[in-house]
Symmetry: C2
Amino acid sequence: MNLEKLCVHTITNKPWSLSEALDAYASQGIGGISIWQNIVESDGAHAVASMIKDYPLEVVSYVRGGFFAHQSASDRQKSIDHNKKLLDEAAEIGAPMLVLVCGAEPKQPLKISRDYIKDGIESLIPHADSLGVHMTIEPLHPMYADSRSAINTLSQANDLAEYFDTRTVGVAVDVYHLWWDPNLEKEIARCGANNNLQAYHICDWKVPTTDMLNDRGLMGEGCIPIKKISGWVTAAGFRGYHEVEIFSNKYWSLDQHEFLDLIVKAFNKLQD
Amino acid sequence: MNLEKLCVHTITNKPWSLSEALDAYASQGIGGISIWQNIVESDGAHAVASMIKDYPLEVVSYVRGGFFAHQSASDRQKSIDHNKKLLDEAAEIGAPMLVLVCGAEPKQPLKISRDYIKDGIESLIPHADSLGVHMTIEPLHPMYADSRSAINTLSQANDLAEYFDTRTVGVAVDVYHLWWDPNLEKEIARCGANNNLQAYHICDWKVPTTDMLNDRGLMGEGCIPIKKISGWVTAAGFRGYHEVEIFSNKYWSLDQHEFLDLIVKAFNKLQD
């Protein structure tokens, strides 16, 4: 696999503006870019779309929507309205999918959050359908079950996607969230067999991890068997981009060109 | 439930010596104490045993053995020998069980670690049997899958315990590690139905959690539905102690008598 199937999330190079990221990714021969919401928020979807047009980069995903689990009905409605806007933006910037971080509320039973998540996604399907934008459920690591997502295993995400039974709703496999799961190989195969495997995110789990949010590792520096998981993903029929999504105070403090060189080197090493 | 079924782990009041802990727990009317290894290491099992004899406190568990997943065979053998010694110490201090943190090695496939864990426990069964001490598998939160335990769900712990099919090997349910699991209620019932539910540990998950090891919360200050989980544990037939196991830089810096008052108050509130 060459860099054509490598994609980098703009958040990975958070210090960069969109044009800096586009210049750097394109000059490295990277094939894809996933756009984070902060970029669209600051530049506007129209400007983002016209900027990207000038580069040989495919927009792989728009990150991130979701957060459907609010306690009050009015907040849940606000979240649905917000996700409609995000779906519009995804369509405008040419992203085929909106990645969903499903949401959780600390004092609310996970079961209730899961019901609200189901309702939220369901109510967005017609709008997503009309735009031709997929909604891609990303199960999050159990350490985020308190306030970010009540969907914490690939099994749960598969259940949800199969419940909706439409290509409009699929699943993102992120090695950081799922690597520990004894059922991972089986659930990746299931995800592929049901045509629900829409995205594949890579990074690494550092040992030790010193921050639960912003201490993700570069591929190869941690304990995740990325090559093995990539093999499972390929065996499940996935032919899409390998998206590098690294939140890291350490790497954000580096010169971002140096960091991007490290990413490309680490990605290439995974193909050995 | 009154304090007779409350047990406190010595590590919860880490700044205290054993005699300080025994004095304080007994004077509160707390029924049980779980002894951590550092206490036995410094005082010796014989002295610990004779100290405890003078108090109306039951030794609930000895914490902790395990760490079976070392990469080299000689290290694994050392770990088995060490666990034999720990089982001897458990017997000497009158603990009916040794709690197992099963182990994991960062660069080793989890599947291999899991095989080593199975082998390690298996080889210890005759010794544990001869002493009448149980080995209690404690599944650890997935965020510890890198270096502490490759057993990260109750389902896995149940599988292991059922594989051995002996009262000598059982399971500890710790709400901190397992609360997020969508299969928790079902797996607790399964654990009870197979007579494998040997211990129940409580504390809380703080939102936000600022340290992955030492920022556990006091019951009620976090997002874990402890009352609900306690109900499942009771429904599964468990009638043992509710063991408070809190690692917390914050609480360790308090006056430990004040902290113990908070623990008792929080435990009582759970019974409302």
